[in-house]
Symmetry: C2
Subunit: 154 residues, 2 copies
Amino acid sequence: MPSSPMTETHCELCQTEGGQVLVRARLWRIIDAGDPVFAGFTRVVWNAHVKEMTDLDSDSQARLIAIVLRVERVMRETLEPHKINLASLGNQVAHLHWHVIPRWEDDLAFPAPIWNAPAPGPDKATLAGLRSATVNSRLSDYHQALINEFQNET
Amino acid sequence: MPSSPMTETHCELCQTEGGQVLVRARLWRIIDAGDPVFAGFTRVVWNAHVKEMTDLDSDSQARLIAIVLRVERVMRETLEPHKINLASLGNQVAHLHWHVIPRWEDDLAFPAPIWNAPAPGPDKATLAGLRSATVNSRLSDYHQALINEFQNET
């Protein structure tokens, strides 16, 4: 494992939480991304400043993925999305974090990735607005379910 | 684990390989995505028709992620990208597969995700063309390294 500093001065995920912290453990944290369009968008951030999954040792890799997949499970159970999107990109903030994104067939971008949502026509915008309202109404249940899921993690 | 058929009639990844197969094992395969812009774009496909990571049992989840991360390691060693992007989206083809994408600061989309590459200006297009040529010149070494890495997998 290449050495890397625990924190970096110019890294957004070292200097800020990156969103509303739902669960904090010693090695990682779960945050609500606060995305105004894609409600429920959740991130799992590795606390130390590491760039890639393969910069972690295999135990840490397995630990982080296990957390991501427990978030996926809780998300499926409480938000009931049509699809889950998982991604670790880090092109803009090269500090290891996973996106866990609930997707619905009537959301603003589906079936495109959220990052290239086409400009919606009025019908699509209306449907997506209704979907967002539904998701938002379940968001506190989802967040509470995450807190319960990870309450014994340190 | 919810029951799911091994193959589906209307699924592109059940009915076709999805790209040039580099490594084939009983449970998964590694394919070159053949992306004309993002050379080196690789996919790890779970052979059975399963939608989400959390539809796999934990052993299968760990096995699949381990393969994805071995691809990431070989990609870093041979193509030396500036960043790796990992993603399991499946909005268009809801059959579990992982994208492993090498990214360079002078590629056509960086730092955006590859799915929303802005229309490039002439300078950016020239740089991206040079980058693609460099990556293409290493592609056969990368593919051979993958074949070597997984030669004992069944």
